[in-house]
Amino acid sequence: MADIDFESMEREAYDFVDEESEENFYRFKEGLTEEIVLKLSEEKHDPEWMREFRLKSLKIYEELEVPDWGPSIEGLDMDNIASYVRSKSNMVDSWDDVPEDIKNTFEKLGIPQAERESLAGVGAQYDSELVYHNVREDVAKSGVVYTDMESALTGEYADMVKEHFMKLVPPTDHKFAALHGAVWSGGSFVYVPKGVHVDIPLQSYFRLNAKGAGQYEHTLIIVDEGADLHFIEGCSAPKYNVANLHAGCVELYVRKNAKLRYSTIENWSKNMYNLNTKRAICEEGGIIEWISGSFGSHESYLYPTSVLKGDNSHAEFTGVTFAGKGQNLDTGAKMIHIGKNTSSFIDTKSICKSGGVSTYRSSVYIAKSAEGSKASVNCGSLMLDSISRSDTIPAVDIRTDKADVGHEAKIGRISDEAVFYLMSRGISESEARALIVSGFANPVSKELPLEYAAEMNNLIKLEMEGG
C-alpha cells in the first residue's frame, strides 16, 4: 500500500487557497506606520475619537517591548505584514449576495449549513472585513443586537461601544493589544438585553485568506442583567510559507446574574502567529464559561482572562491544546478574583506530538477583598512521543486567608495497557491511540454543541493520523 501523505491531508478541509486578485481585493502595503494607521482610519470612516485612539495605540505599540517569557516570535516581521486586506464587495445579509469565490470558501468550511441547522446568527469575516452578517428574525425581535463592529461604532449603539471599547483590554496591556488598538478591523458587536435568553448560539467565523497579512478583528459582547448567551468563534486560514498574524481582541461584559458561554475552535494554519487577547468581566452573580480548542497556529499566546469583580460571580475555563509538528502553542487562562465568594475552575488538557511544543500557562489571583473565594486548577498533559515538549506553568497568588485554592497537574503518556486492551477488542493501534486521546480531550468536546464536538474530534483524529 502506498504511503498516505497525512501531513498534507490533515488540513485539507482548511488549507484550500482561493487566490485573491487585485481586481477583487484591496490591500494595504506591508508595514506599520502612522501613515498606514491614518489611511486605515480614513478607509473605515472612524469617528474622531477612534482615529485618536488608533494613533495613541500605535505610540504605545512602539514603546512596548516584545514579551520575554513566551515562545519566540522572532519570525514575525511587521514590515512583511499587510494590516488591511478586504474584498471590494460590501457586507451583505444573504449568502446569495456574497461574491462567489468567498462564498465557496465558507461553503467548504460548512458555515452556511451550520447557520441553517443550528445557529441563531452568523458573522463571517474574510481577511480584514466582515462579508456576511445575519441574525435570525425572532432573535432580533427579542432585542438582541448582533452586528459588525464598524456599524456599531457609528450606529445606534455608538455610545455603548465608545464606553466599552478596549476598556477591559487597554492598549497598554501588552504590545499586541496596542497593535490591535492601532489597526483593528472587523469583528462583531453583540448586545443581549436584560433577561433575554438566546437559546441557540450565535457564531462568528474568521477566515484569513490573504498571504502575509494580519487579522485584527474586535469582538465586543455585552450580556445585560439576567440574560444568557452562547457565542461560538471559529477561525481558520490556509497555509503559506510566509508568516501571517492574528492579533484579535475579545471583550466580554457579563452583567449582574447574566451568563455567557464563549466557545472557540481555533484552527489557524501552521504559519500563523496567533497573539490573541480575550478578557471577560463579571458583575454580581455573573457567570462566564470559556470553552477552548486550540489546534492550529505556528506560535500561539492565548490566555482568556476572567475578572470576577462582582460578589458570587463564577468563571470556568475548559480547554484543550494539541501541538503538532512545527507548532509552539502557549495557552492557558487567567482568573482574577476581586468580589466576595467568587469561584473559578480551570480544567485543561494539553497534547503534543511530532515535535510540537505545548505550554500550559495560567495565573489565579485572589485579592484581599475576595473573601470566601474558591479556585480550582486542574491541568493534564499527554506526551505522545519524545521529540515533543510539554510544560506546565501555573501561578497562584493569594492575598487573603479566607480563600481556598486547589491545584493539580499531571503529565504522562498513553498507557500500554490501555492500548493493549483496545487492540484486544479488534481496534488497530493507531485507532486505539486516537480514541484514548479523544477521551483525554473529552471534558472540552462534551461542552461543545454536537457539530463542533464532532469537528474537534475530527481534528484530533487528523492530528493523530498526521504522525
Binding site: S72, R361, T392, P394, V396, D397, I398, A409, R413
Partner: protein
C-alpha cells in the same frame, strides 16, 4: 549601601507582572562587605573527613566526576537570561559571585565508601561578629557510602553533640540580626545514601539563605529534611540533578511564616537518568502579614525514561494580610514519565474545625494543633537529640506566640 542579588530564578519565565520569575535578596553592605565565616562546630567520625580546599581543587573534582549540570532557561527558543553555572544551585550564580568576593574557604566533607552508618553527624553553624556570616561547603558521598548529616543554623553556638537542653545553653543568644548564608554542593556517587537534615533556628532579625546544588549518580539516594523556624527573611534554593539510573531524591520541608516575614523557596528536581524517582513535600503556615513564594519544578529531560516525580504543597493561611505565591512547574521533554503536582492552599476545612469544636477545642487551638502536628511530622524525622528537642520547643513557642 544596599546590594541586590537576583536569586531563585524560575527555570522558565512567566508573566513579569506576577513578580515571581526571580527573587531579590537585599544585603546591607555599608561601606563594603563586612563578612566572616559561619562558626562551625562538628566532630567527624572516622570515615568522614573535612578540610578546606581552594577553588582549583574543587574544579578538578568536578571535572573528575564529570559534573555538568548547567543552569539555564530551558524554554524552547529562549536564551539563558542569567549567568550559567556549571554546577547549578537553586539560588543561582549571584550567590556564587558573592562568595567568590570573600576570602571564605570551601570546606570539603568527604564520606568514604566504607562509611555506612545511620548515626547522625552534627554540624552546628552560628554567625560570627560580622554583619554577614557565610559558609561554603562541598559534601562528597563516595560510592556505596551511607551517612546522615544534621546541620543546625542557630544564633548562638551550643555543643551540637549534647543530647539534652543543658542549663546555660541558649541558642537564641548572640546577634539579633544580620545575614547568614550557606552554599552547599552535594555529590552522591553510585549506590551512596545520604540524608541531610537542615534546621534553621536563627533569631527573627536575621536574613538567611541556603543555596544547594546536588548531583546524584546511579542507585543513590538523597533525602533532605528541612525546617525553617527562625530568621524573618529566608531565601532557599535547591537544584538536584538525578543523572544516575534509579537514583532517588526525597524532600520533606516545613516552615512557619510569622509577622513581617518572607520565605522565598525555589526547588528544582531535574531528571535525566532512567527510572529515577523524586518526591518533594512542602508544608507551611502563614500568620499575620507573612509572605511566601514557592517555586517548585519537576524537570523531565530527554532520556529520563520511566522517571517518576511527585510534588505536594500544603499551606495554611491564618492572617488577613498574608501573601501566598505558588508556582509549581512541570517541564517535560520525555514521553515515558509520570509527573504530578498537587497543592492545597487556604483555611482549615470547615469539617475539620467542626469536628474539633465538638470535642471542646477552640478554633484558635484547632489551628495551632493542625500546624503543630504537620510540622512535628517533619521534626520527628530528625534524629533524637538536642537539636530535635530545641526544634520542637521552637515550634511550640512560636505557635504560642501566634
Amino acid at each position: 549601601m544596599t546590594r541586590e542579588l537576583a536569586v531563585n530564578h524560575l527555570p522558565v519565565l512567566t508573566w513579569n507582572k506576577l513578580n515571581i520569575n526571580r527573587a531579590k535578596l537585599q544585603i546591607e553592605t555599608g561601606d563594603g562587605l563586612n563578612t566572616g565565616r559561619l562558626n562551625r562546630i562538628a566532630v567527624y567520625p572516622e570515615g568522614i573527613s573535612a578540610r578546606t580546599v581552594k577553588s582549583d581543587e574543587l574544579d578538578r573534582l568536578i571535572n573528575e566526576l564529570d559534573i555538568n549540570n548547567p543552569s539555564e532557561l530551558v524554554v524552547a527558543g529562549k536564551i539563558p537570561m542569567y549567568n550559567e553555572q556549571r554546577f547549578a544551585t537553586g539560588m543561582g550564580a549571584e550567590i556564587d559571585k558573592l562568595l567568590d568576593e570573600t576570602d571564605i574557604d570551601t570546606e570539603l566533607i568527604v564520606i568514604d565508601g566504607s562509611y555506612r552508618s545511620e548515626e547522625p553527624v552534627y554540624i552546628g553553624l552560628t554567625p560570627g561578629e560580622e554583619d554577614i556570616s557565610l559558609y561554603k561547603s562541598v559534601i562528597h558521598a563516595k560510592k556505596g557510602s551511607k551517612a546522615s548529616l544534621v546541620v543546625g543554623f542557630e544564633s548562638s553556638s551550643c555543643n551540637p553533640e549534647c543530647t539534652g537542653i543543658k542549663e546555660g545553653c541558649d541558642p537564641t543568644a548572640g546577634r539579633e540580626s544580620g545575614l547568614a548564608g550557606a552554599s552547599t554542593r552535594i555529590i552522591i556517587e553510585e549506590g551512596a545514601e545520604l540524608t541531610v537534615y537542615r534546621v534553621q533556628l536563627l533569631n527573627k532579625g536575621y536574613t538567611f539563605f541556603d543555596d544547594i546544588g546536588a548531583v546524584s549518580d546511579k542507585n543513590s539516594s538523597l533525602n533532605i529534611v528541612k525546617l525553617n523556624l527562625g530568621a524573618g527573611r529566608v531565601f532557599d534554593g535547591l537544584n538536584e540533578l538525578q543523572r544516575g539510573t534509579e537514583s532517588a531524591f526525597n524532600v520533606d520541608y516545613g516552615f512557619l511564616g510569622l509577622e513581617g516575614s518572607l520565605t522565598d523557596i525555589n526547588y528544582n528536581d531535574v531528571f535525566t537518568g532512567k527510572r529515577t524517582n523524586g518526591v518533594m513535600r512542602f508544608f507551611g503556615a502563614l500568620f499575620e502579614d507573612a509572605q511566601k513564594v514557592f517555586r517548585g519544578t519537576l524537570d523531565f529531560r530527554a532520556g529520563s525514561v520511566k522517571a517518576v516525580g511527585d510534588e505536594q504543597e500544603d499551606i495554611l493561611l491564618f492572617g488577613e494580610d498574608v501573601v501566598n505565591k505558588t508556582i509549581p512547574l512541570i517541564l517535560c521533554e520525555e514521553e515515558d514519565v509520570d509527573g504530578r503536582h498537587a497543592a492545597t492552599i487556604g483555611r482549615l476545612s470547615e469539617d475539620m474545625l467542626f469536628y474539633m469544636q465538638t470535642r471542646g477545642i477552640s478554633e484558635e487551638d484547632a489551628k495551632r494543633l493542625m500546624v503543630k502536628s504537620s510540622l512535628k511530622s517533619i521534626s520527628r524525622k530528625l534524629p533524637k537529640g538536642t537539636l530535635r528537642d530545641r526544634t520542637e520547643l521552637r515550634i511550640k513557642e512560636l505557635l504560642q506566640e501566634n
